[in-house]
């Protein structure tokens, strides 16, 4: 398991950390017992969306036929297509299309404001975000792409254990709990998916997006909100408490401010959409009371689209 190799590399020369690591491993194995529900849910969601490996429209390693060309000095003899060469005089070499897996970097917001749900029957925003992330990862891995968690330090991979490792990492909850991802050096031509409630101030989001897209990454923004955050269904005199240590706010009559709040939320969303458009990214909004398939479909479609470069 990657966890084991990680721990062995980490602990070389530090035997007193072995016990802590063992405990953490036990903890993560306990967490792994929660994997099946998440994976099953993710796979169920993902099963509604078809997938496939996509070609890169250029010559390279792959399986789909691309072109025939004349044999030149230096080509490998195994590449000669004898049937074609037998039809005419010159010798032809068969070339395939370059089909390469993409690497997609996934990130979800695990700050405490994501742990909100307005009604017992709905999932918290965090749960929905995790679900979307895992479902996307399942789809991508099935489609042959490579996935990795942004901020986890692991390279992207698309093999069988990737999903398990990914799920365990998510459930361990050891990733940094910021409202926005930390910008790290990522390879070019990768894609990045940011899932969260994106309620941070627009300038902060703009900074992150600009940093990531400046490195040549194509990104996708997914905003997951609770229906109460969209509709503000409270009445009367309410004292609001922030979930990340902000000050309380007392509103004498919530009905009076509802309209203004919804306008403000709309304005924030428009700002996000403009941001994404400017950077060439996609933007999807999602409410936790809607089925997750809709968001996933939109997201996957956005990822599968060919870049116009």
């Amino acid at each position: 398991m990657a966890r084991d190799s990680f721990s062995k590399r980490d602990l070389a020369g530090k035997p007193d950390l072995a016990a802590t690591a063992l405990r953490a491993q036990h903890r993560s194995e306990a967490l792994a017992s929660r994997l099946p529900p998440l994976l099953v849910a993710a796979e169920r969601v993902a099963a509604t969306v078809a997938q496939g490996v996509h070609g890169r429209r250029r010559v390279g390693t792959g399986e789909t036929f691309w072109q025939y060309r004349r044999y030149e000095i230096g080509d490998s003899a195994t590449m000669i297509d004898w049937r074609q060469s037998g039809k005419t005089q010159p010798v032809f070499v068969r070339e395939n299309e370059w089909e390469a897996a993409q690497s997609v970097w996934l990130w979800h917001d695990s700050s405490s404001s994501m742990g909100y749900r307005s009604v017992q029957g709905l999932p918290t925003k965090k749960e929905r975000a995790e679900l979307l992330l895992m479902a996307l990862a399942v789809l991508l891995v099935r489609g042959g792409e490579r996935v990795a968690l942004l901020g986890s330090g692991l390279p992207p991979s698309g093999n069988k254990v990737t999903l398990n490792r990914l799920a365990m990492r998510i459930l361990e909850d050891t990733l940094p709990k910021d409202g926005l991802p930390r910008v790290e050096p990522l390879p070019r031509h990768a894609q990045v998916v940011l899932i969260g409630d994106l309620l941070s101030p627009l300038p902060d989001i703009h900074k992150t997006v600009a940093a990531l897209s400046g490195r040549g990454l194509r990104g996708h923004l997914v905003q997951v909100l609770d229906p109460a955050e969209e509709t503000l269904p409270f009445d009367g005199r309410v004292e609001f408490e922030g979930m990340e240590g902000e000050d309380e706010l007392l509103i004498p009559r919530v009905e009076a401010v509802r309209q203004a709040y919804m306008e403000r939320l709309e304005a924030h969303r428009d700002g996000l959409a403009a941001l994404a458009r400017a950077a060439g990214w996609s933007f999807v909004t999602h409410r936790t009371d809607r089925p997750p398939q809709t968001a996933l479909l939109a997201l996957y479609g956005a990822i599968a689209q060919e870049p116009t470069s």
Partner: protein, 919 residues
Amino acid sequence: MLGLGPIAFAVPWILGALIVLPILWWLLRLTPPSPRIVQFPAIRLLRDLVAREETPARTPLWLLIMRTVLAALVILALAQPLLNPRAGLPGSGPIVMVVDNGWGAGRDWPARQRTMADLIDQAERNNRDLIVLATAPDAAGEKPRPSNLMRPADARRMTQSLAPMPWPTDRAAVVDALRGLQVQGSAHTVWLSDGLSDAAVQPLAARLQQMGGVEVLMDGADRLPNLLLPPATEGADLVATVKRADTTLPTPVTVRAVAADGRLLARQTAAFAPGADSLEVRLAMPIELRNEVIRMSIEGEQTAGATVLLDERWRRRPVGLVSGRPEGENQPLLSDLYYLERALSPFSEIRRGSVLDLMSRDLSVLILADIGALTDTEAAAVENWVERGGVLVRFAGPRLAQHTDHLVPVRLRLGDRTLGGALSWSEPAKLAPFPPSSPFAGTHIPPDVVVDRQVLAEPSIDLPDKTWARLADGTPLVTAENREEGKIVLVHTTANPDWSNLALSGLFVDMLRRITALSEGVSGDMQATTFAPIEVLDGRGQLVPPPATVFPIPGNAFRSDTLGPRHPPGFYGTEEARRALNLTSLVTKVEPLRRLPAGVAQGTYAARGEVDLKPLLLGLAMALAIVDLFVAMLLRGLLGNVRIGRGRRAATTAATAAGLLLAVGCVAAWPGSAHANSDDFALKASGETYLAYVVTGDRALDDTTRAGLEGLSEVLNRRTAVETAGAMAVDLESDELAFFPLIYWAISPSQPDLSDAARVRLNDFLRNGGTILFDTRDRQFGAGSALTGGGPGSQRLRRLVDGLDVPALAPVPPEHVLTKAFYLLQDFPGRYGGGDVWVEAQEGRHNDGVSSVIIGAADWAGAWAVDESGRPRNAVVPGGERQREMAYRFGVNLVMYALTGNYKADQVHVPAILERLGQ
């Protein structure tokens, strides 16, 4: 005190706080309610939003009203509202409470206690001190004294310890005690009287008026206590006199006579005539019951004056018997006293002893049976006793014929006269009819009473006057003489059948009864004794053990005026010789309390009816406060989240609790149906003939026994005239055995030992004609027979029959009825062959010659046992099916033997039997 119709407020100035209510309303209306607290992640977007309208949220109107009502309730409660308030207590000084707690207060003491409690409550509210004064001397005999000035709480404690006393009040001492009493300010006196008047009422009322206002409380005129005076005896009846205080109404009165164990012996109702203050009530009872009466009381009154205790002066006619000869225990029918006791015991108390012993206690009649001459001391004592009212009855006999003394009614001739006999010409004489002046007049003389011998009296002039009974030829048989207050009676023949058969006849009983009815009863010598208290009456007329403050009474001071706190009414003396001291021998009149001085208010003990509303209002306010709390929490959303879960949980717990209660109720409602069971058992067992078997507790064995007896009963029904209905299990501890002619008892080692009740039941069964077949079933252990063998069954059998009345046993002889009762058999095999069967050794007339116990070891039930399809269950060794047939034949013989007796043993059947046997 502010009054508004039926409600009054004790502290009216607090009502001024009601002004605050509108201000409270305005404040509550202005104050916005507490906000709900909600967690919201998008709070950043909410900041600094401009609201379109500015009106803040308000408290809902109904909540406002509820809170105002709450405040109003609290203010009203603090003002101490009273429903139906009483007038206040006048005066400024202390409250003096004079309580009559003599015997008259026992009638309705709870009402007096309630009144005292109300009064103390009122004093507490008005913050006045109290002085309590009880007018009867207390149990230690101390005169009544006013208490010190007390706080209401102390007064409450003191009045709770007051109780009615069974002696009269001492109001004169109260007047003396009040003489030195000083009070500050003008005291208000409340006199809780018992409604009875005596000489000191006027001075007491005057003295109380000197201290301040006086209020006298008493019962209504119809509720004054009645007196029951000690009854007189007229013949067999008790006549009691009831006196009352108020003479206007014709009220009925019921008098009860109660025995020592509380049984009601007689009850009689009579009504006072209007204007009469005394009434005679006659209680008629048989003489035997009259001897048991221990107290009489007026029904419905619980005072010491309505209870009269009766001792020996009223009830007993003790008869003393003295005999000249020492009785022979082995020949009771020859002794004198036997017949006297038999004749007297139903209606008199018999005492035996020497003359002086009998003289020292109460005695009505002294019977001397054939005593010739008494010693000087005895004679003097008896003469003294006779002169004080005793009846001396003497029976003649050989000794009296030889010596006589002066304690005879007539002069006697020495010697006796023989009537009839071998050497005389006359025949035994019969009795002549009784003269009309004799106490025996009217009794029936049986024609076969004859007198053989008698003692003769010297003829004298007054002999005919003294004669109560004569023989047919005119000779006196019973003579009597009055001596001062008593009588001496002489019967000229013996008290036993030596000289006549009078003692054997019913006439003897009648004569003795008449003689005892003449007697009055004389009290014994009382000078030298001290009477210790046995039981005393308390203030409510109940007999209680004497407290330590009761002293014994010396014998010469036992008069009615010794009654007091030291000697309350009750029983004194010893258990055998009780004397009753009654209150109504001292208090013989009751007068109602009238003619109080002017200025004295009068009232009754009716319930005051003042109700304090403060606790009620405070309770309401508390309930409203709790409701308000819940509503506030609801509005703030603190209860909202868990409503669903709580509701579901509450519903399930309620359902579980209801289900549990229902189950417990069902289980508890199954009463034991043991009674129905025994009746069913008796009905079933007596309806048909059943073969019974003893339940041993071993299920397999009982099963086999039952199957065996069912098989046998089927064989019996098929082959003989006996119709048995089958087998029936019998539990020796609980079932009745008398229904079964035959009981089969398979001895198992696990059978528990018999209890004593079971042993008694078995003995009765055996004695009254039942037969038990003991089957030890251990032939296979090589033991030759059940009794002498050492198998486990026979050991158990020996232990079981340990307490039973089993007669001597012997092996069945060859000519026993069992061998020929139905079939002709030589031996009695069961599952195992061989071995002996033991029966009773001597069969006599008892039980028609049927042996009550039959013991064997061959396991017959095992051989008889069949299953449902009629196939035999157990194998039979060593003989096989032929042996089983023989076992069935033995069973048939056994049942025939048990049911028909030994008629087959008659010689009548012998020729037929011999012919059958081929001889």
